[in-house]
C-alpha cells in the first residue's frame, strides 16, 4: 500500500502549483495560503509514512512500470531508503513552517510565490527519493530554477538582484559540471540508474571513474557551499526573503552534500575502496577549511542574515567532515546533524525576519538595544544559539558526538577540534548579536559599513505592535523540535540503521536490480556517549559565551598583538569575498582543477 504513495510527494505539489499558477488571477491570497499549507502538510505525512515503511524494507517504484530487463534499467526508479525519505520529510516540514511564517509576512504577493515554493518542495522531494542519476540532475535543475526566482523576488532593491545573479550564474556552472560528470559516467557504463552504474563499475578505478566523480562532486559542492565553491551562498542568503532563507540554509545546501553521499555510497565505494584514505584526506582538509573560513567570516559580519549564512557554510564544513570519514556511523551522525542544524538555523533566520519586520533593518549595530522588549523572541534566539553550539542534548550534539566518535575510531581523533572552533565562532557571533540587539550590551557603535551597507527594506509594513504568533510560532516550534529530536529515545538507533542501509551498496543493487529483499536488522544498541563528548559540548557553549562577552567588552577594540594576525586574516578573506561573479567562477574553476589533480595524485601515492 505504502508503495503506491511513493510518487505523491513529487506529484501533489506539482499539481497544486500548476493549478494555483493557472488560476493566479482568480485565487484569493488566503485560499492559496491554506492550499499550500495543506499540501505541504500532506507531503510531510506521506514522506513520514514512506520513511517508516522504508525502515522495514526499502521501497522501489518503477515509473511507467518499466522494470529492469536482465539487469538493465529501462526506466526511472524511486529507490526510497530511510535517509532519502527522511530528507523529504524534513524538507516538507521546513516548507510548511515557511508557509505558516509567510501568512503574515508578504502582504503583497499573488499566488505565484506559492507556486514557486510548492515546485521547490516537489523538486527537493524528487531529489531525495530518486534512484536515477540523470533524474537527480533534473530535480536539481528544477530546484535551482525555483530558487533563482525566489531569491531575486524583491526586485525593487539592488541587493537581491546582484545576489540572485551571483547565485544563478555559479549554480548554473555547477549544474553543467555535474552534467558533464553524468555524461562521462554514462559513456563509461551505459547506464543511468544508480544501482546499475554501481554494479557496472564494480571496483574499476580507472581515471575516467575518478574524474567523473570529481566532476559530480565539485558540481554538487557548489550547491553545498563547500570552499572554494561557496561564494554565492552569503550573497544569496543575505538578500533572499526570510521564508526562502529557511529553505536555502535549512535543507537545500544539505541536499548538495546528500547527492554526493548518495552517488558515493551507491556507485563509488567499490572503486574507491582501496583508496579510501586518499578521498578521506582530501575531503577532511576541504571540510576543515570550509568550517574555518565560514566561522571566521561569520564572526566578522554585522549583517545578521549574512552572519547566519556564513555560519551555514561553517556547518557545511562540519557535515563534510562527517561524510569524509566514509563510515556508516559517521554518516548517521551527519544525518542527525543535518536535522539539528536545519531546525536551529531556520529558527534563527525566522528571528532575523522578525527583526526585519519590526525594525526594517538587520544590521547588528543599528539594532543595538532596540529589541529589549521582545523577551520571547530573544529567548528563542538564545535557545537556538545553544543548539548551534552543540550543547547536549540538542540534535546537533548527537550528530557531533557520533561524528567525533567515528573519527576517533578511524584514527582521526582531532576532528573534535574543528567542531569546537566552528561552534565557538558561529555560536559566539549569534550570542554577541543577541546580547547587543536584545539587551543593548556593549558600547554603541556607528555602523561602519555606512552607505555600502546592503539596503534592507522591510518585507512588510513595519509594525510596532507585538510580534504576531504566525511569525515567532514557527521559530519557537522549530527550535524546540531540535531539542526534542535530541532527547527522543532511540533516535540514534534509527539514524544508525538508516545510514547503514544507505552505505550498503551491494544490498542497494540487489534490491533495485534483482528485486531482492533485505533482512531487517534490529536497531543497534545505543551505547552511552563518553563523558568527554558531553563535556566538549558544554565547553564549546561556554567558550562561545565567553567569546561573545569578550567581543562586547572594551578590550576587544584595543590593538593587542594577539588580535593582529586574526584581523589581518579576516580582512584578507573579506577581500576574496568580493561579490564579483567573475571572481567566483574563477575560484570555482580553480576548485575543480585542484580536486581533479590532487585526488589522483593522492591515490597514486598509495594513500
Amino acid at each position: 500500500m505504502t508503495t503506491q504513495l511513493a510518487p505523491l510527494p513529487v506529484v501533489i505539489p506539482l499539481a497544486a502549483a500548476g493549478i494555483l499558477a493557472g488560476l493566479n488571477k482568480f485565487t484569493p491570497r488566503r485560499l492559496a495560503d491554506i492550499v499550500s499549507i495543506l499540501v505541504s502538510a500532506a507531503v510531510l505525512g506521506i514522506s513520514l509514512d514512506l520513511m517508516n515503511a522504508a525502515a522495514r524494507q526499502p521501497i522501489l517504484y518503477w515509473f511507467g512500470g518499466w522494470t529492469p530487463r536482465s539487469g538493465v534499467a529501462l526506466g526511472i526508479s524511486f529507490a526510497i531508503d530511510p535517509v532519502g525519505a527522511g530528507l523529504a520529510s524534513f524538507a516538507s516540514l521546513l516548507v510548511l513552517s515557511a508557509f505558516v511564517f509567510s501568512w503574515r509576512y508578504f502582504e503583497s504577493v499573488g499566488t505565484l510565490f506559492h507556486a514557486l515554493m510548492l515546485v521547490f518542495l516537489a523538486a527537493m522531494c524528487g531529489f531525495s527519493l530518486t534512484g536515477d542519476l540523470f533524474n537527480l540532475f533534473v530535480w536539481f535543475e528544477l530546484m535551482s530554477a525555483a530558487a533563482y526566482a525566489l531569491c531575486g523576488y524583491k526586485i525593487e532593491e539592488v541587493g537581491p538582484l546582484q545576489g540572485a545573479l551571483n547565485f544563478a550564474i555559479t549554480n548554473t556552472v555547477g549544474a553543467f559540471i555535474v552534467l558533464t560528470g553524468i555524461a562521462v559516467l554514462y559513456g563509461h557504463t551505459g547506464a543511468l540508474n544508480l544501482a546499475q552504474i554501481g554494479r557496472a563499475l564494480g571496483s574499476d578505478s580507472s581515471p575516467i571513474v575518478i574524474v567523473a566523480f570529481v566532476f559530480i562532486m565539485a558540481g554538487f559542492f557548489v550547491k553545498a557551499a563547500i570552499v572554494p565553491f561557496h561564494f554565492w551562498l552569503a550573497d544569496a542568503h543575505a538578500v533572499a526573503p526570510t521564508p526562502v532563507c529557511i529553505l536555502f540554509s535549512g535543507v537545500m545546501v544539505e541536499l548538495g552534500l546528500y547527492a554526493v553521499a548518495r552517488v558515493y555510497w551507491s556507485d563509488m565505494d567499490g572503486p574507491f575502496a582501496p583508496h579510501r584514505m586518499a578521498l578521506t584526506s582530501l575531503l577532511l582538509s576541504v571540510g576543515t577549511i570550509t568550517a574555518a573560513v565560514g566561522g571566521m567570516m561569520c564572526f566578522a559580519q554585522q549583517h545578521i542574515k549574512r552572519l547566519l549564512a556564513y555560519s551555514t557554510i561553517s556547518h557545511m564544513g562540519l557535515m563534510l567532515i562527517g561524510f569524509a570519514l566514509l563510515k556508516p556511523a559517521a554518516l548517521a551522525g551527519v544525518a542527525l546533524y543535518v536535522i539539528g542544524h536545519g531546525l536551529v538555523k531556520s529558527a534563527l533566520f525566522i528571528v532575523a525576519g522578525i527583526l526585519l519586520h519590526r525594525y526594517a533593518t538587520v544590521d547588528e549595530l543599528r539594532l543595538h538595544g532596540h529589541a529589549r522588549r521582545l523577551h520571547v523572541t530573544a529567548g528563542v534566539w538564545v535557545f537556538a544559539g545553544l543548539g548551534l553550539a552543540g550543547l547536549p542534548p540538542f540534535a546537533t550534539f548527537l550528530g557531533e558526538a557520533a561524528i567525533e566518535d567515528a573519527g576517533e575510531k578511524a584514527g582521526q581523533g582531532w576532528v573534535w577540534v574543528v567542531f569546537l572552533v566552528s561552534a565557538v565562532l558561529t555560536a559566539g557571533a549569534v550570542f554577541r548579536v543577541g546580547a547587543r540587539v536584545f539587551r543593548g550590551w556593549g558600547t554603541r557603535q556607528k555602523s561602519a559599513r555606512g552607505s555600502k551597507e546592503i539596503a534592507d527594506k522591510p518585507e512588510t509594513t513595519p509594525s510596532r505592535r507585538g510580534v504576531p504568533p504566525q511569525l515567532f510560532g514557527p521559530a519557537a516550534v522549530l527550535a524546540a523540535l531540535a531539542l526534542a529530536v535530541g532527547v527522543t529515545p532511540g533516535v540514534r538507533g534509527v539514524a544508525q540503521t538508516a545510514a547503514t542501509r544507505m552505505a550498503d551498496a551491494a544490498g542497494y543493487q540487489a534490491i533495485v536490480l534483482d528485486h531482492a529483499s533485505i533482512p531487517v536488522n534490529p536497531p543497534p544498541v545505543e551505547h552511552v556517549f563518553p563523558m568527554s563528548s558531553v563535556l566538549r559540548g558544554v565547553v564549546a557553549t561556554g567558550l562561545a559565551l565567553a567569546l561573545a562577552a569578550l567581543s562586547l567588552s572594551r578590550y576587544w577594540r584595543r590593538e593587542y598583538i594577539v588580535f593582529k594576525p586574526v584581523r589581518g586574516l579576516i580582512s584578507g578573506l573579506q577581500q576574496v569575498h568580493s561579490g564579483h561573479v567573475g571572481d567566483y567562477v574563477a575560484l570555482l574553476t580553480l576548485g575543480v582543477a585542484a580536486f581533479g589533480i590532487v585526488l589522483p595524485v593522492l591515490m597514486k601515492l598509495g594513500l
Partner: protein, 114 residues
Amino acid sequence: MSLLPFAIAAWLFIIGLYGVVTSKNFVHLIMCLVIVQSSTYVLLLAIGYKVGGVAPVFAGVKVGTPAVDPVVQALMLTDIVVEATVAALLLALAVQAQKRFRTLNPDKLQELRG
C-alpha cells in the same frame, strides 16, 4: 583523432567559462553560459554516436538496423529546454539589475562585499 569530439567539448567548456570570468556585460555573460552548456551537447552526442548507425527513428527502417543511442538524445532535449529557460531567468534578472544599478557591468556592482 577519435579524441577530437571530446577535446572540442572540453574546449567549449573552458572558453565559455573564460567569457563568464572576464565578461563586462551580463548579457554577454549569459551568452557565454550558453556556450558552456553547448559543451555538454557535444559530449553527449559524441558518447551516443555509432559509426554507420541510423537515427533512432524506425519509420521505414527495419528494427535491428544499427542505430545511434536514443537515450542521449532524450537527455539532450531536456538539456536544451533547461538552457533556454535558465537563460530566460537570468536575462530577467539582468534587465532588473540594469534598471536598479544603471549598469550591466559586473565590475561596477559593489553591493555585496565581505
